[in-house]
């Protein structure tokens, strides 16, 4: 960002909406360039056509600012807009009070395996899983892994185990969007899906030299 004044989120949003409006004239039906009217229509359908069930209340249909930016741009915000929201997300990250980032990698592996949590079938009060293997390769022994995210095999071996990398891994899991505004990865800490202890265990899985990830 080279300008003196940084654009506020609403300015950034207005730019995005204008771009989206211009792009909305495209005739290719497979391309998706949402106009504000189309988004409004879809939001109204969400609010009208869903019912609360189990832990999944209707409040989940209320999008936050970050989701609004991603929805207005089909998850491709301009670099300026992305920078604005990434800083906002970063500012909301709560780092561990004790300054330690590494937990127990064995507990981390269990968490990474577990896909439970936050659906209307999941009972409230039971800790959520991390869902990590749904999207990432992590330990070499687990061959049933998804490909929505990049492989994290040998993550610590290639990135090292410095305090900076530890802080990055913790922050990335806490709020992926602080680094990539419209990432497909959930904001596990920000959304209250994972606790501080759980995130530390996952950081250990990725970075601890004794973790199978780094063998």
């Amino acid at each position: 960002m080279k300008t003196e004044k940084q654009p506020t989120l609403s300015v950034a949003l207005a730019i995005g909406v204008a771009t989206a409006l211009m792009a909305g004239c495209a005739t290719d039906r497979s391309a998706y360039n949402p106009s504000p009217e189309v988004i409004k229509h879809a939001m109204a359908a969400f609010k009208r056509d869903f019912d609360a069930k189990g832990a999944a209340g209707l409040d989940r249909l209320n999008t936050d600012k970050l989701q609004d930016v991603c929805n207005a741009t089909n998850s491709k915000p301009s670099p300026d807009m992305a920078a604005v929201v990434e800083r906002e997300q970063e500012a909301a990250i709560k780092l561990p009070a004790d300054g330690k980032f590494l937990g127990d990698w064995k507990a981390g592996e269990k968490l990474a395996q577990s896909g439970r949590g936050m659906t209307w079938k999941d009972k409230a009060g039971i800790p959520n899983g991390g869902n990590c293997y749904n999207c990432h390769q992590i330990s070499p022994a687990e061959l049933s892994y998804g490909t929505i995210g990049p492989s994290l095999l040998h993550f610590g071996k290639t990135r090292g185990n410095s305090p900076e990398i530890q802080k990055y891994a913790y922050s990335k899991i806490y709020n992926s969007k602080a680094f990539s505004a419209c990432s497909a990865m959930p904001r596990f800490g920000h959304a209250g899906a994972l606790t501080e202890t759980q995130i530390k265990d996952l950081v250990a899985l990725l970075l601890d030299p004794t973790s199978p990830v780094n063998k």
């Binding site: 039906r29 497979s30 998706y32 949402p34 189309v38 988004i39 229509h41 879809a42 939001m43 359908a45 969400f46 009208r48 056509d49 869903f50 019912d51 609360a52 069930k53 999944a56 209340g57 209707l58 989940r60 249909l61 209320n62 999008t63 970050l66 989701q67 991603c70 929805n71 089909n74 998850s75 936050m118 659906t119 209307w120 079938k121 293997y133 749904n134 999207c135 022994a141 687990e142 061959l143 049933s144 892994y145 998804g146 490909t147 929505i148 969007k177 419209c182 497909a184 959930p186 904001r187 959304a191 209250g192 899906a193």
Partner: protein
């Protein structure tokens, strides 16, 4: 028939175990073997046979059969109707998928109450839901025909546009949209391959297999069920059965994947 059911029972028992950590999904391999054994047959035939009986049977407060139901090609025409849905129905003034349309006929011709229809849209292995039987009967009559979903009516265009927007709308605690899992080529969740439903090629392949007989649950599931379960995975509240939002998403996928040969209820994991 009896032999087939026995084979089915034996095989499903073998497949309901947890997915093992293997490069090739054992469930998929098992389904392929099963397909070979059955040839062109499919346990969905049981649903089809029950559905045909239900279609012709007088029922409901009006004691009428569904034989005069207009699925889009005129009253009573079942053959070929499925491949032309979702479509705009003037009498209801809305775009409906076939599941919604059959239910509309149950309400309007037979007098079944909407509350009754909403009570149990999705069955269980031991207790199927009537709509799953009826739908299987109707779709099977379009097997081998080309998907030819109409796209000209303004409401059909509007439904596509709404469906596309709902498909891309990120919300909920995980910030997911349908596109998070189905918006790029060659993605997987664990070993389950995810079609890129924004593209004709994948949408074609995925769409023509529904409704589907799922080996993991030993029953036929409808597209309304598929969307319901994917919204669950999206961590959102429950989409209302037959609602505009669900029908719009189905319309978006159907129009995106238009033109493929309809395969009839497929066997899925």
């Amino acid at each position: 028939m009896k032999y087939r059911i026995a084979v089915l029972a034996a095989l499903t028992a073998a497949w309901t175990g947890p997915v093992l950590a293997q490069a090739k999904d054992p469930t998929i391999a098992g389904i392929e073997k099963y397909r070979e054994m059955l040839g062109d047959d499919n346990p969905a035939e049981l649903y089809e046979a029950r559905g045909e009986q239900l279609w012709k049977k007088k029922a409901g407060p009006k004691n009428a059969s569904l034989e005069q139901c207009d699925l889009g090609l005129g009253p009573g025409v079942v053959k070929g109707a499925y491949v032309q849905t979702p479509r705009y129905y003037a009498d209801a003034d809305r775009v409906m998928d076939m599941e919604t349309r059959i239910n509309w006929c149950r309400m309007n011709l037979q007098g079944v109450s909407e509350a009754d229809i909403r009570k149990r849209p999705f069955g269980s292995a031991d207790k199927p839901s009537e709509i799953e039987d009826l739908l299987t009967y109707v779709v099977t009559a379009s097997k081998g025909m080309k998907m030819n979903v109409p796209t000209d009516h303004p409401k059909e265009r509007e439904a596509f546009q709404l469906g596309q927007a709902v498909f891309h709308m990120r919300a909920g605690p995980y910030d997911f949209s349908c596109a998070t899992c189905h918006g790029e080529d060659n993605l997987r969740i664990r070993l389950q391959e995810l079609p890129n439903l924004t593209k004709a090629e994948d949408a074609k392949r995925a769409y023509v297999g529904w409704p589907a007989y799922r080996v993991s649950t030993s029953r036929v599931h409808t597209m309304q069920w598929r969307i319901n379960d994917c919204f669950r995975q999206q961590r959102l509240p429950e989409p209302r059965y037959m609602s505009e939002a669900v029908n719009a998403v189905i319309t978006y996928m159907a129009q995106t994947g238009n033109g493929a040969e309809y395969k009839g209820p497929a066997l899925k994991r």
